[in-house]
Symmetry: C2
């Protein structure tokens, strides 16, 4: 990619920007998950054009209510390059509207390949760059180094998968007993965040993992970075589940809801009301 | 995506098609990794146009020599939607030329999100569909079920990350002692392949992991599916390393080389000669 003609003004670190958004708008993160069934319920076609109308409508309706929007990359990628072009449009419009974005891409690789993913999602001037990206540490936390470094350099953030709520996730994430995989990931993420100001290296931990974070001794309050917690809202976790899962780390948590809110659309007023209601219930 | 007007002729299962290609062309898999430095060495710009010239030149030069071509998705994604459009063109041209493709995407997620990744990379009519895709099992092998099922239905294949050669991968892949993560992944993959004919559920195991597969008791000969083994060629593994790493499972292995061969370009004759030499050295 050609470097930009003039270097952009350095943005503030992601941790600071996230803290600012949280003060202004609360801590609810809203997923943009254009599932085929949802598009159909909104009267939209399962095409890149339908995807674009959906994504931009969600941005307009709930962007002002969310600490960040989290587009689910798989659902754009499902439409190939044209779907990714819609994601680029969404990310540009969100930046224009001063709404933070977390690309839920769950990327992970090694060396120069990981560097390429980092440049795609966190690089200056990349059309897919979001404010933060989710990462997958199967190749080792340290394999993510190119993304950690680039996020620091560009004032962006990362969220590393640690503990997920699907039962089959345990076979990997709980492996290792007292020194579990999830625990080593959480500790490594903690080591990336300094004590000065809120960190930009976060974790993904399902809102419905119950006491797993406790049992695996994750020491989440020490993270000093954000915790993305999918699975709140209808049929998911409420305030009591969040408290049970995160305890003293609750101030770090970004409860994340998507379909429970998106199902209230396409009417903008109902959609926005659903976002506010969810946010207030969890506050 | 709209269903196709007429259902395509069902293709033969991936395991069979791969076996056919192997009989005809040997077992070397060649990666298409358009790194910026490589584009520059070829006199190409680091742009989608440069990417396209590179990718199609590699297809033409070494497609006839390779059991499969493995485009590295990160290096296309680095150019955003326009880079992914180049990957779509490459995949279409490879299919036209009857060259098998393995999209090295390392995707992984759960539920309907995993279903979306499966549709993107393995679905009938998807512009990004390859003959096979690499997957990441951090969310548990079973989380990959939508891809396993769709691959079966469309005659395509998957390669699940098991053991990688980067040292930091051990923190996750070796976790669990005698019942290591990598061992459980290998066993689960084995369970997917029937005894009748070569299976379509493969593994990714670095060619330079040394005796790790042995020490972790992966029982690779039982897999009855293909093993993608990156890391052969210049500065990487040769025949003796492959034998040491894979032992009796060697007949399942697809040794995979990219930069060691691609560096011989852009001259077509030299590129093809490098591919043949690597293949013959490993045969």
């Amino acid at each position: 990619m050609a470097p930009e003609a003039t270097a952009p003004a350095p943005r503030a670190p992601f941790g600071q920007r996230l803290a600012g958004a949280r003060s202004a708008k609360g801590s609810l993160c809203i997923g943009i998950d254009p599932h085929p069934a949802l598009l159909s319920a909104w009267g939209l076609q399962d095409t890149p054009a339908g995807l674009e109308r959906f994504a931009l409508a969600v941005l307009d309706a709930v962007g002002p209510e969310a600490v960040a929007l989290k587009p689910q990359v798989a659902l754009f990628e499902r439409h190939g390059a044209r779907g990714l072009a819609v994601l680029e449009t969404l990310l540009a419009c969100a930046a224009e509207a001063d709404v933070l974005t977390i690309a839920d891409a769950k990327r992970g690789d090694i060396g120069s390949t990981m560097q390429a993913y980092a440049e795609a999602w966190l690089g200056e001037g990349s059309p897919l760059a979001a404010d933060a990206v989710t990462l997958n540490p199967y190749l080792g936390f340290e394999s993510l180094r190119p993304a950690l470094d680039l996020a620091t350099a560009t004032g962006r953030g990362v969220f590393v998968l640690a503990l997920t709520s699907n039962p089959e996730g345990r076979s990997v994430q709980h492996a290792g007993g007292a020194e579990s995989v999830a625990r080593s990931i959480a500790r490594a993420a903690t080591g990336e965040n300094s004590d000065a100001g809120p960190g930009h290296v976060g974790l993904v931990i399902g809102a419905t993992v119950g006491d797993a974070a406790d049992r695996l001794e994750l020491d989440l309050p020490a993270l000093n970075g954000p915790i993305l917690a999918p699975g709140v809202g209808t049929q998911g976790a409420g305030r009591s589940e969040l408290t049970a899962t995160f305890g003293d780390a609750l101030p770090l948590v970004l409860p994340t809801s998507s379909r429970a809110i998106l199902a209230a659309g396409p009417d903008v007023v109902r959609l926005r009301a659903a976002a506010r209601r969810t946010r207030d219930e969890l506050a």
